[in-house]
């Protein structure tokens, strides 16, 4: 290749605490090319690019711009070197127009005149084929328009190296086509474009070369025209790593929760889930694989009642057949109502109707365990709040991705965090800390949480310990369904194995476990079935004992096509 090198990195290493994010990476970018950076979640793509964009500073290694060594300490330094990065989370002032955002912070030395800025923005837009109204406010814009503003913002500053972090994740196919058209024109204009992605067909469609990163290391750089989807996948996922996770066969799996045609839009009105249907069985671990941000978070939050859904049903089957009714979660009125419907029978199989019985007598019968359910309870959880779901007597445990911002209260100790789910118990207005404290102590003991005491704020604990506390609490809730989003993210090996072990134990107890993960090796070794989600759509459900990494990798990255195999 006789093109000039625009930027090169030599021996770049970056650590976060004990985690090695990038290890001795060497990479060149030429002028007038599109370089794709390909890799799984957490392989260090974004960290690497952030070091060029001035967000992070490398621990080791050097960066050269056109053969001159440069030091990039802030985004402004990067701008001055004509490097611009378009992040996944846009940094725009909502209240401003496109043009105002674009000109923000630019020292032009000329008198500020918004009309000139508008014209200049239109000029850039015409040159590369963007569609944009410079006078439109950001809060009126779609995601794709906001992205356009971010790209023009970078071009306006005269950048000749553009880095785009997952630019297509939020776009429709038409918008993606338009974006690629723009990228090609910029390339022809001599600019270097780096695009971070995991979507293979996009890599093949738009890039000239592909650099593959795996576990923080630069594996290879290949010319796109020599690459195929399967060759790239192989390099991306690497050899299968055997994990030492004990996996038992599911015992009597029965449908526990059934999702039917679920769709939802996020706050920006984007379809995050599109007609999702699947069944999670009891006594089995259902893995969910997918690129980060494909709708996993929203799916779990929709099931727990935290996200409003637009269409679809969530059918929950409570295995109550021949189990005693309790007043724990049911009011007397509800019990009477269900009895009228003929839902109960006694231990001899005769129907219980409570005819002619007073409240006291009914209470006695129920409290003595003489009233049993005839069938499993089937309920639709659609449009129910978390509290309403709880009041129906349904135990859904949820280990959210954001542990301290959602699952736990950072400033409280372990005891108080144990109460987050159970504090309502009892008619008294006072808290009962006795049981939570016992629970806290048993979790500390059994899961080997290292903490100075039960009242030390959990914020001060290490990531692994925080996660043990959270998972421990959710399991102590005796769930029927246990959902965990990235429960081992950021955890060391030992903590991770503790979590796998806990999930397996729950499965053996007959809980339906839903595990959202990012490491395919783990998913394959831990789960019974794996559901693959891609841009809010299910692209397949496979048997984890037989599937291969490549197969799942393809389903995660390809748009929906014939690769649909396996089944629910």
């Amino acid at each position: 290749m006789n093109k000039k090198i625009a930027l090169s990195m030599r021996g770049i290493t970056k650590r976060f605490g004990s985690v090695l994010a990038n290890n001795n990476v060497n990479l060149d970018v030429y002028q007038g090319e599109v370089l794709a950076i390909l890799g799984e979640n957490g392989c260090g793509k974004t960290t690497l690019m952030n070091m060029i964009a001035g967000i992070y500073f490398p621990d080791e290694g050097k960066i050269y711009k056109e053969d001159k060594e440069v030091v990039i300490r802030s985004p402004k330094d990067a701008f001055d070197l004509k490097i611009g990065m378009i992040h996944q989370h846009f940094k725009l002032v909502d209240l401003f127009t496109a043009a105002e955002n674009i000109v923000l912070g630019v020292e032009e030395g000329k008198k500020y005149n918004l009309k000139n800025v508008n014209n200049r923005v239109r000029e850039i837009a015409d040159k590369y084929g963007f569609h944009i109204d410079p006078e439109k406010k950001i809060y009126d814009m779609s995601v794709s328009e906001k992205q356009t503003v971010e790209i023009i913002k970078v071009l306006y500053r005269g950048a000749d190296i553009l880095i785009l972090d997952e630019p297509t994740a939020v776009l429709t196919p038409q918008e993606i086509d338009r974006l690629f058209e723009v990228l090609r024109r910029m390339k022809e204009d001599g600019k270097s474009i780096i695009i971070i992605t995991h979507k293979l067909h996009e890599v093949l469609a738009v890039s000239d070369r592909v650099a593959i990163l795996r576990k923080g290391e630069h594996v290879a750089t290949v010319d796109t025209r020599d690459a195929t989807e399967s060759s790239l996948t192989e390099m991306m996922v690497g050899k299968k790593v055997e994990l030492n996770i004990d996996r038992s066969e599911p015992v009597n799996p029965a449908p526990r929760i059934e999702i039917q045609h679920l769709s939802l839009k996020n706050a920006e009105g984007i379809d995050v889930l599109k007609d999702v249907s699947f069944i999670a069985n009891s006594g089995e671990i259902l893995g969910i694989a997918g690129i980060a941000g494909s709708g996993q978070k929203e799916l779990l939050e929709a099931i727990t009642g935290l996200q409003p859904t637009s269409t679809g049903d969530i059918i929950f089957t409570n295995p109550k057949k021949d189990k005693p009714v309790s007043f724990f979660h049911k009011s007397l009125a509800r019990v009477k109502f269900l009895a009228k419907q003929g839902a109960f029978h006694d231990e001899f199989g005769n129907e219980v109707s409570f005819n002619g019985l007073g409240a006291k007598a009914i209470r006695r019968l129920v409290n003595n365990g003489k009233v049993l359910f005839k069938e499993d309870e089937v309920m639709n959880l659609r449009h129910k709040t978390p509290l309403q779901i709880r009041q129906l007597g349904i135990h859904l445990s949820f280990v959210p991705e954001d542990r301290l911002g959602m699952g736990l209260v950072g400033s409280m100790g372990i005891t108080d965090n144990m109460m987050l789910r159970s504090y309502r118990k009892g008619a008294s207005g006072f808290l009962n800390r006795r049981k939570p404290k016992q629970l806290a102590e048993s979790i500390i003991h059994e899961l080997e949480v290292s903490t100075p005491g039960v009242n030390t704020p959990v914020r001060k604990l290490s990531g692994g310990n925080v996660q043990k506390v959270l998972v421990g609490r959710e399991i102590a809730f005796t769930p029927k369904v246990l959902m965990a989003a990235y429960p081992v993210r950021g955890l060391d090996i030992n903590s991770s194995y503790t979590i796998y072990h806990l999930l397996n134990k729950q499965k053996e107890k007959g809980v339906a476990v839903i595990f959202v993960g990012e490491d395919l090796d783990v998913l394959l070794a831990l789960c019974d079935r794996i559901l693959v989600i891609n841009s809010g759509e299910i692209t397949g459900i496979v048997d984890a004992r037989r599937a291969t990494k490549e197969e799942i990798g393809l389903m995660m990255t390809q748009t929906k096509d014939a690769s649909k195999e396996g089944n629910s």
């Binding site: 802030s74 985004p75 402004k76 701008f79 940094k91 725009l92 002032v93 909502d94 209240l95 401003f96 105002e100 000109v103 923000l104 912070g105 630019v106 500020y112 918004l114 406010k137 809060y139």
Partner: protein, 327 residues
């Protein structure tokens, strides 16, 4: 003269106090800082101006005793204004050091600043001689109308200055790069930081310049509108009114001009109504009218929050300290 016209002019003149106060507060709030110290700053602005006038008044008298001609009027005017500005800038500096650099809670800091400012002003004012700082110099502030005798028809130099400042502030905020940067900081300091805007510098400047402007309001009230030796005692109350006017004016300095007239009209209704013949009104009404500026402000606040139009909301980061590593 038509009594309603004179009443209107009085409202305009009264409102100038609020124009200064709220224009200053708007600049500060646009940088994301809710400065509840504005009443204290306005007090100290007044005290600073009077302190300087007291000093140069004495100098002038000494010069006369030595047979020289007294200091010319414009020296008094400019020195007084500079004194007010300097003193209130010092107050602004305290506020911005605590809230920007030390990231203290803005509400708490502002309230202490008001306690401090009103207290210190009273201490200072009790030491000044009103015959020196007020009686002589106040005539100079009636320029360019000081030749006329009708007390209602003077809108002096500080009135014109207030209109100029309010319009200039709007121009800077909405038509210049500096204003764009400032508004960006108030909306999203991390975005502004990411494009290389010096957030700390802007926050300091906005707070200190805003304080200087607000301080002029207190000085104006003493020297011009009231012109009495007890005037300083009521500045604090008008400071809170100025904060209300910020909301009423939807964070736009040029709107404060109209808003201040409305507020001035309502607030001085009680004292004016007795002058108007042919209107008899239950005096209870005057108290209700005094409540109206605040009630109107609340209604504006509620209305804008229900309508939820983005342009009329308080700046997004108002009240939140900015710490880069939080992003």
């Amino acid at each position: 003269m038509n009594i309603w016209l004179s009443y209107l002019i009085d409202s305009v003149a009264f409102g100038v106090t609020f124009i200064y106060g709220s224009t200053g507060e708007i600049l500060t709030e646009k940088a994301g800082h809710l400065n509840l110290g504005i009443p204290g700053i306005m007090c100290m602005g007044g005290a600073g101006g009077c302190l300087v006038l007291n000093t140069i008044g004495k100098i002038s008298m000494a010069m006369v005793e030595k047979g020289m001609s007294p200091l010319p009027g414009f020296v008094f005017v400019i020195a007084g204004i500079l004194g007010a500005i300097l003193m209130s800038m010092l107050m602004g500096l305290i506020y911005s050091f605590l809230t920007v650099t030390l990231r203290a809670n803005q509400n708490v800091t502002g309230l202490v600043l008001t306690t401090f400012g009103t207290g210190l002003m009273k201490v200072i004012m009790s030491k000044l001689d009103h015959t020196i700082y007020l009686e002589g110099p106040k005539e100079f502030y009636r320029w360019p109308f000081h030749m006329r005798n009708d007390p209602l028809l003077y809108l002096g130099v500080l009135f014109y200055l207030s209109i100029f400042i309010a319009l200039a502030a709007s121009y800077v905020l909405y038509k210049t790069k500096v204003g764009l940067h400032l508004r960006a900081i108030g909306e999203s300091p991390s975005t502004a930081d990411a494009v290389g805007i010096n957030v700390t510098k802007y926050k300091y400047l906005a707070t200190i310049i805003g304080s200087a402007i607000a301080g002029l309001g207190g000085f104006y009230y003493i020297m011009d509108y009231s012109g009495s030796r007890e005037a300083y005692l009521s500045i604090e109350a008008y400071g809170w009114m100025a904060i209300a006017l910020v909301i009423f004016a939807l964070w736009r300095p040029h709107f404060t001009i109209i808003g201040s007239i409305v507020f001035g009209f309502l607030f001085s209704f009680g004292s004016q109504i007795v002058n108007i013949e042919g209107i008899s009104i239950n005096l209870v009404m005057t108290y209700l009218l005094k409540m109206l500026p605040y009630i109107c402000t609340i209604i504006v606040l509620i209305f804008t929050s229900i309508r939820n139009k983005r342009e009329n909301q308080p700046p997004q980061s108002l009240g939140l300290p900015y710490f880069r590593e939080d992003r």
